[in-house]
């Protein structure tokens, strides 16, 4: 992504005022040290020339942008037509997902809001609404709404799959399993297999999951690349959980071939690389995508792991980004921030607090892991009890989590009184 300052820097260089440039860079290095806590880092300025590029936005040459225009004018010609609103909203959600730009979720929401305000919104509108809620990590609200939808339309494939995903994220494997069965009955083997395979991958049945995934790994030439990228990503995660790093790496690479630059894949693969002592590759992977918060987090973590001098500046930048997220009052990034606090900032206590809060919202393997790591780092095995119980009941098996469980059991055995006291007090 283009640096908005690029134009300015070029001009300075052209007029060979290198002293100014060096002084500027020197100030830039000092800035994060002195102004760590300040959110608007620089004072507002007036750009040097009219041609300075300030911000990149989707260009009209992008077919998806032209599609937005088309759908928007369709909707404004028929503002009462829910189907047209749903199409536009889906296009926004889809674009937001692939670029990682959460603004498009709000834009989609604004499009369907008039229809949501009616006494009985159409199922298709409610589905988009529930999907946006899920994307913003309002899992419970999304779950309630999807349950409503399935009461009105029991065989709705999208509602079944979305609710199954929510149930897996919330750690409700019983519900997820029931939905996977319904999905197989209503939508055929393809959907049902992906659903079952994902669930097995989370329940310690990695080999079965892998077998099921391999049936659907090639969805055919007509399927959009996003579908095979998604399946490859799930297979990569499953292989990584089983400790098959080489296989995981192959799947990640295949996925990124299908959808280069996909934000979720970049973050996922980046974290995998750091886990496997390949932080240098992680830096190279996300270096061109620093506007993205998830990619930047991978970059900072990798730089810190490598002990690069740049880590200090980038940590200040990451702090500022977390701070501006906090200012909004939303807490979508809790797991990521907990992990950052633990591995980069080395503040285990704050990390554990955040991981505990995050546990109330989501219970995927990565949430389990950061919680246990924080409990170990604070030497507070009792705090990990609810998560250990969860692992017992779901049979989650993950090579990045198993050693943590073993260590915590040792610590709990060493201090049994503390554990039981906490158990009694816990709700």
């Amino acid at each position: 992504m283009n640096d908005p300052h690029e134009g300015t820097v070029d001009e300075v260089r052209r007029s060979s005022r290198c002293v100014v440039l060096r002084f500027f860079l020197f100030l830039l290095l000092l800035l994060p040290i002195t102004l760590v806590a300040q959110t608007p880092r620089d004072a507002p300025y007036i750009p040097a020339t009219d041609s300075v590029v300030l911000q990149l936005v989707p260009p009209r040459t992008d077919p998806r942008v032209r599609q937005f225009d088309q759908l928007r004018s369709d909707l404004s010609a028929h503002p009462q037509d829910a189907a047209k609103a749903v199409l536009l909203a889906i296009a926004y959600v889809d674009y937001g997902r692939s670029t990682g730009d959460a603004r498009y979720l709000g834009r989609a929401m604004a499009v369907i809001q008039p229809f949501m305000a009616t006494p009985s919104p159409p199922v298709s509108v409610m589905l988009v609404h529930a999907t946006i809620q899920q994307s913003r990590h309002f899992f419970q609200a999304s779950r309630d709404e999807l349950t409503q939808i399935l009461k009105r339309d029991p065989g709705n494939v999208q509602a079944l799959l979305t609710l199954a995903t929510v149930a897996m994220v919330q750690g409700d494997h019983a519900l997820a399993n029931k939905l996977c069965v319904d999905l197989t009955n209503d939508a055929g083997n393809f959907m049902g297999m992906i659903c079952s395979a994902s669930l097995r991958s989370l329940s310690g049945q990695g080999a079965q999951a892998n077998a099921l995934f391999s049936y659907v790994e090639d969805p055919g030439p007509k399927a959009p690349p996003a579908i095979s990228a998604w399946i490859e990503g799930l297979m990569a995660d499953n292989a990584a959980r089983m400790g098959l790093a080489d296989q995981a790496d192959v799947h990640f690479k295949k996925a990124l071939q299908q959808t280069p630059g996909d934000n979720f894949l970049l973050a996922d693969y980046g974290e995998f690389l750091i886990d496997h002592g390949r932080a240098k590759e992680a830096v190279d992977l996300v270096d061109g995508d620093t506007q993205s918060d998830t990619s930047f987090l991978v970059l900072v973590t990798a730089e810190k792991a490598l002990g690069l001098p740049k880590a200090k500046t980038d940590m200040a930048e990451m702090d500022a980004r977390f701070q501006s997220m906090d200012q909004r009052g939303d807490h979508v990034f809790m797991r990521e921030e907990a992990s950052y606090l633990l591995h980069v900032e080395h503040s285990p206590k704050a990390a554990l607090d955040l991981a505990t809060q995050n546990w109330q919202v989501q219970r995927a393997p990565k949430d389990v892991r950061v919680y246990l790591e924080a409990a170990l780092a604070t030497n507070d095995p009792a705090a990990a009890t609810p998560v250990l119980d969860f692992i017992d009941s779901t049979h989650l098996n993950d090579v990045s989590i198993n050693p943590l469980v073993a260590q915590l059991h040792v610590l709990q055995a060493a201090a049994p009184s503390m554990t039981s006291a906490t158990k009694r007090n816990s709700p």
Partner: protein, 419 residues
């Protein structure tokens, strides 16, 4: 599988990838900062940082459609940006209204990209109160997840809140409520209300004009008549019953103090009764429709001036002041209600406004009395001011009464006399 079903299925697959991780970019934010001015209490200096991406979505900044917003494009749209944003922001409180005047345009880099910086002054019609209400409607129709992060710097105190489409209004305490300052501000409002309320002034003047005069009967009658005249004075009902108007003439009051005493009686009676209804109305105990109150005030002006032409009440003019004071008090109350009383500062505002009304009224009396006393012997005072002046006031009040009671506009009338 038909096309529609396939589409839905594919969409379901695509969106179900989402919850595995957080989105890469945060949602839409804007940063609004307001700073009080150390020298000018009517002004706040504002800075509003709005993401170029949001402005592009709302009003279109990328005029070349090349996917790159340049400083030239932003500069060219300055007026459009300012009109779009500033019309979606209001700053109010305690009857305060503020006009947003743009003062400059800059750019700032935030963690998620470049923002247009709108520099502006909120120029208000009164001193900035201790509690300020911000109404924030940016992006309300375009993005329900937009948030305005509002910070107000008042001296060394900082107040902040987060607003958005679902929650667009917040009241912020800028400093410990400064009751004395609020009191003073309402005193000023009270003074101005009476000075600009020409109907209140005319009512008072109509009652005060005869105070420096004595009405002398030309044919004195017996004691029995005097008793019934006294009754008539108090009731005011005799006028209609009298077949023959009483014969009298005005004489200058020989001494200042009795005249002054009359004035004090009138003013005190008026103050007493209007304070009662003002308080009752502000506290919500009494409520009369505005139309009735305003018509009643017009009627009171008419009656007060009529009494100078066909005197029914003379020695006890204060009774007229007292009786109609109640209705004037209700008029003051509706003016005060228009100023949006701050909750919790009821006593300060009500007290301040009453004191202001008294001061305004006393000032009129103090200006009137010496001049009237000096002119009282002249033909100008006794005929031009008292008789013709009263006739003019009757005509005006009749016009108001017509307009207010029947809710009509008399052509040309409002152009000459406001209110």
């Amino acid at each position: 599988m038909n096309t529609r079903k396939l589409f839905i299925t594919l969409f379901a697959l695509v969106v179900s990838m989402i919850p595995l991780s957080a989105f890469a970019h945060k949602e839409s934010d804007a940063y609004l900062t307001l700073r009080t001015d150390t020298t000018n209490n009517h002004v706040m200096h504002g800075q509003w940082d709005i993401a170029l991406r949001d402005l592009d979505y709302a009003i279109g900044l990328d005029s070349r459609h090349d996917g790159a917003i340049t400083w030239g494009e932003v500069k060219a749209q300055r007026k459009v940006i300012e009109d779009y944003a500033l019309s979606r922001l209001q700053v109010k409180g305690d009857g305060l209204t503020c006009a947003m005047q743009p003062t400059g345009q800059k750019i700032d880099e935030h963690t998620d990209g470049a923002y247009a910086v709108i520099l502006f002054d909120a120029v208000c019609d009164k001193n900035i109160p201790s509690k300020l209400t911000v109404v924030y409607r940016l992006m309300y129709d375009l993005d329900p997840y937009h948030r305005g992060i509002v910070t107000i710097h008042a001296g060394d105190k900082i107040a902040g809140t987060v607003l958005g489409p679902a929650n667009p209004v917040a009241s912020l305490n800028l400093r410990e409520p400064e009751r004395w300052g609020e009191f003073k501000s309402f005193v000023t409002d009270g003074i101005w209300h009476i000075w600009t309320g020409i109907d209140h002034i005319l009512f008072l003047l109509s009652l005060l004009l005869p105070a420096v005069l004595i009405r002398r009967r030309l044919q004195p009658r017996g004691d029995g008549w005097r008793a019934s005249a006294a009754l008539a004075e108090t009731s005011g009902a005799l006028m209609a019953l009298t077949t023959q108007p009483p014969r009298y003439r005005w004489e200058a009051s020989p001494r200042f103090w009795p005249a002054c005493l009359d004035v004090i009686k009138v003013v005190s009676a008026f103050s007493l009764s209007h304070s009662v209804t003002l308080s009752l109305a502000v506290l919500g105990i009494v409520h009369l429709p505005d139309r009735l109150v305003e018509s009643g005030i017009a009627l009171s002006v008419m009656v007060a001036a009529l009494n100078n032409i066909y005197p029914v009440v003379h020695k006890r003019v204060w009774l007229i002041a007292f009786a109609f004071g109640f209705i004037h008090g209700l008029g003051f109350a509706s003016a005060l209600a228009g100023l949006q009383l701050p909750a919790g500062a009821m006593a300060a505002s009500l007290g301040g406004f009453s004191v202001g009304v008294e001061i305004g009224q006393e000032a009129i009396v103090l200006a009137f009395l010496p001049v009237a006393y000096m002119l009282r012997k002249t033909w100008f005072y006794q005929v031009v001011l008292l008789r013709w002046g009263s006739l003019l006031i009757i005509a005006l009040a009749a016009g108001w009464l017509m307009q207010r009671a029947f809710n009509i506009l008399i052509p040309g009338f409002s152009a000459i006399i406001p209110n």
